[in-house]
Chain length 432, copies 3
Amino acid sequence: MKERRLAELLKTYKPGHALPRQFYRDEELYEVEIDQIWRHGWLFAGFTSQIPKPGDYFVYDVDTDSIIIVRREDGSLAALHNVCRHRGSLVAIDPIGHAQRFICPYHQWTYDLSGKLATSRGMPADLDRAELCLKPVQLREMAGLIYISLAAEPIGFEAANACMAPLARPQGFDRARVAHLVDYEVHANWKIVWENNRECYHCDVNHPQYVKANFDRYDAGQVNAQIAQQIEAATERSRLRWEAQGLMVTHREVGLAIFPDADRNIWYSAHRTALVDGYVTESIDGWQVAPLMGDYNDPDVGTLRLRTLPNFWNHSSCDHAVATRLTPAGPRLTKIRVMWLVHQDAVEGQDYHLSELLSFWQLTAEQDWVICERVQRGVDSRAYIAGPLSTTKEYNVDHFIRWYLRQLSEVPSSFTQASDSWATADTHLIVL
Amino acid sequence: MKERRLAELLKTYKPGHALPRQFYRDEELYEVEIDQIWRHGWLFAGFTSQIPKPGDYFVYDVDTDSIIIVRREDGSLAALHNVCRHRGSLVAIDPIGHAQRFICPYHQWTYDLSGKLATSRGMPADLDRAELCLKPVQLREMAGLIYISLAAEPIGFEAANACMAPLARPQGFDRARVAHLVDYEVHANWKIVWENNRECYHCDVNHPQYVKANFDRYDAGQVNAQIAQQIEAATERSRLRWEAQGLMVTHREVGLAIFPDADRNIWYSAHRTALVDGYVTESIDGWQVAPLMGDYNDPDVGTLRLRTLPNFWNHSSCDHAVATRLTPAGPRLTKIRVMWLVHQDAVEGQDYHLSELLSFWQLTAEQDWVICERVQRGVDSRAYIAGPLSTTKEYNVDHFIRWYLRQLSEVPSSFTQASDSWATADTHLIVL
Amino acid sequence: MKERRLAELLKTYKPGHALPRQFYRDEELYEVEIDQIWRHGWLFAGFTSQIPKPGDYFVYDVDTDSIIIVRREDGSLAALHNVCRHRGSLVAIDPIGHAQRFICPYHQWTYDLSGKLATSRGMPADLDRAELCLKPVQLREMAGLIYISLAAEPIGFEAANACMAPLARPQGFDRARVAHLVDYEVHANWKIVWENNRECYHCDVNHPQYVKANFDRYDAGQVNAQIAQQIEAATERSRLRWEAQGLMVTHREVGLAIFPDADRNIWYSAHRTALVDGYVTESIDGWQVAPLMGDYNDPDVGTLRLRTLPNFWNHSSCDHAVATRLTPAGPRLTKIRVMWLVHQDAVEGQDYHLSELLSFWQLTAEQDWVICERVQRGVDSRAYIAGPLSTTKEYNVDHFIRWYLRQLSEVPSSFTQASDSWATADTHLIVL
């Protein structure tokens, strides 16, 4: 995309409003987003508990790339480009598997679990094997969550880790098991999916089951003293018990916590907050649907929310966690994986039933996908005009939009080539 | 599309011949057509009888846009862009429905049936609601037919109305019922579909059922005196009875009536003409297949043909009407809806049977779609050379092509921006 | 494609390596390939035995074009563009059929089997019919194989004929019958399909059934004297009997015969070579699966390999032949037809069983298509780096790549317009 065209497009944005039409449709802008956001930041890939033993791996496909995430012999994790250094075949074919070495199915070049080329039969003895490893991908582990970055020198991860790990750790993601996952193809731009996630203005009518369990439905600055009192009561009731478990209450205000923070350029967040009285978990009736997870010894732990841009959010209760991973597949298509986690020892049909475990979030997610596809269909229209955002209900949509525009403006377009400029780029990006 | 490229393309056309290859394939030209023809002229949307009661609506999707056509409390009709002024969601989800108000399913902004924003809960009290109505679309009603225009200041409709309404009125489209409709996706450029419609040169072999009922198969200027005599006899036989019913005979010549009229830039036509002896309707055996429609009190009314460019034709007999609506969906795809109308009180299975009602035109339509897809496949070839048109059998194809080229040449490319220039454009376009 | 862009792309190639990423993905480069390779050279279309009687025809679709290959009254063959000279409809609708004349289904313009316009009812008597023939396509017949070229003045065919015909003739392709064919859509660039075909480095693991029958698995220059000895023994054992049958042994070295020959710009090859002891044909168990074909009177005839770029290879044994025809359908899609031929008098279920006839090559082909799709998926990745080729196992991949690059570089981009420059272009292209 010519810089001039991007600059003109950015000028069409009107503060306090939704994004103009082309932001949800333009092919060239989509490529800019891939470069400056999706190949620049940190992407949630999956959970360490999905690959517990050395040699366990799974594959995550992002844009044109395919990435292997594998546990090595020493127990550490690595991310490797799933592309043979000979003629380019995929090396790992199964989406999840186990390997002692990665053997390319084409000509059997063999790589160890760190990607080092071990054997290449038929090639000259003096082949420079050290040069021909599976290309590495940056990886970070955070309390059982695996992040990768396709950037050569990615932005800093430390602040995200410091913010999220203490809250995430008690949930025991690293000692969990994926009980179920569903892959969706949602015909909507990835930003529409996020904008929908960043407000609960739509919840009352669209998510009747959700609003019974959560306080999100209420505005920030809600002038109803009764609501504020209910939240305060629910929080205070649990505070001492939570503290006894070493759990922090981090959000006790009416309205959604600020995320992302466009002003401070913050792309991660973690919050523990109270559920509505009568709900110990996000299930249809509020009752526990699986054994307690992680460090919890009391079902009253409220709900834990973790989020990282551009592709992850998570709602966790005492007994299960639900993770959502977004992957764009064009300006009008987003692939979405929703994963349900339970305690690693929980046995299906005995300790939990999928029907009870899934229904709350499967319903909520699918309600959202329908909404997002209607929005895409509407913003496709030449008649679409970006409307005003509610300052009390959609302040996080506004933050998301401004965070997004900041990524487009501040990251040098040349970052993929000029790795020298990266350090500088980072100081612009992360203001903590 | 650069003007220079368009100009070069236009130069490849050879008078008296079919259009050159790129006219049926070029993506950029297609966008010019969308702008200068489809978003400029009047599009048939549907029938007033589809939405008899206040609050009844249906949706018509054209290019990227979605349009609601609704009957208001006062009985008048309105067309509205189906895009919420807040974050752009589709407002009406069902393709046909009933609403007292349009409530956006996303955040429940509520619009009255004229598109005025009535409520927007959660937004500040000082929100300028007057500014935030569903954007209006131009609409005209003509003897039960509904036309819309996506242009801000569309071309004149009056002459079309004056020409068509008197002939259309007795058919009683406004007191009819859609007995059946079929939606097709035809893999052919919309102009191929029209060119096929504009000649009966292909009828003998491709439409054996059609040529039994109609005189269309014969050339203009047919030198066979017997044919002319048959038509004259059929017309004269009915003329007095038709006149007694207030029906005009408007076409009694051999050959198809001129349409469109490229020289006079006329995009509409209406004709009543005789059927072959033994046929009182366009059914397989010529026998009546449903109760008389509209004002008719005698089955002998011949056949009524209504046509408007770029997207509508209709064949009506004493007992039923068949409407065809085209909507382009890319240079090589046309969505086509065929609708069968009967008297509003006719009861299926009692007054008519779908098998008898549909077969004549379902057969004819589907024979045409097969033809059109073969033509697209052939003009796709680099070996295709636009051939000569028959002056006695394909003069309307020639008129269509010249009408089409005139729209590309005469309409200022800038009309969507510069509404001031519209009046001028109109005087160019409509020469009556 | 701008010449400058092509030149830059060509510069990214590193001798001795696979092709860089954009060669397998770029839309504009694909169009250049269509022009400079696919519309320039000779394409295998099918077999003369598919159309034994005058009026028999089949259709081959290449890029946007559709070509009829027909046997004329005098027994000779013709290739004609399947596009009516009137309004461009396809003339022959069935993929294979019989016609006394080609009658366009649209308006019944009628062409004789040489493409001459015979009748065009409804057109003026003075229509210049001589000008309106179905456009001819260049055709060559070679020992029962039919080649076409979409070029106005194609490259020379004589050298190919001289090389291939003597070896092909005894197989009796002209007296054969297509017992079965399968059409595949393989999601891989056509060059990936060829590169895979041009080495047997991948055979051991991927084609266990194939390597039992063939010596291809061994390297050129294999330092194992035992292998060379086995091939020599197998060849010598048969040599005298083959010579008695008039069959030439043309490849008795270890490793694949050189093809294509990039240095000499040779796009065709024919070889007869020995099969492994115990195999008289390429069947799962090596036993004969159909009656002897062509001139053969002894099952011991080894295996005959015919290949022509850009779209054909063939493996023939004593009792059946298997032909593979490639047709590109975009940078990431190749349509592939595999055809099994047997003696014309062989009766299915009696003389041969499809299960026995097909399994060897259906298995081999489908194993290859899976490989090719994995390679496409891998080279799609931005992480793909073209790796080094084995000089002993992949020398033919290297020849193919260099042959391919030579076609891009040497053919003048302007050849479709400037037919004058063709003779010159030919002298560049064919250095025999």
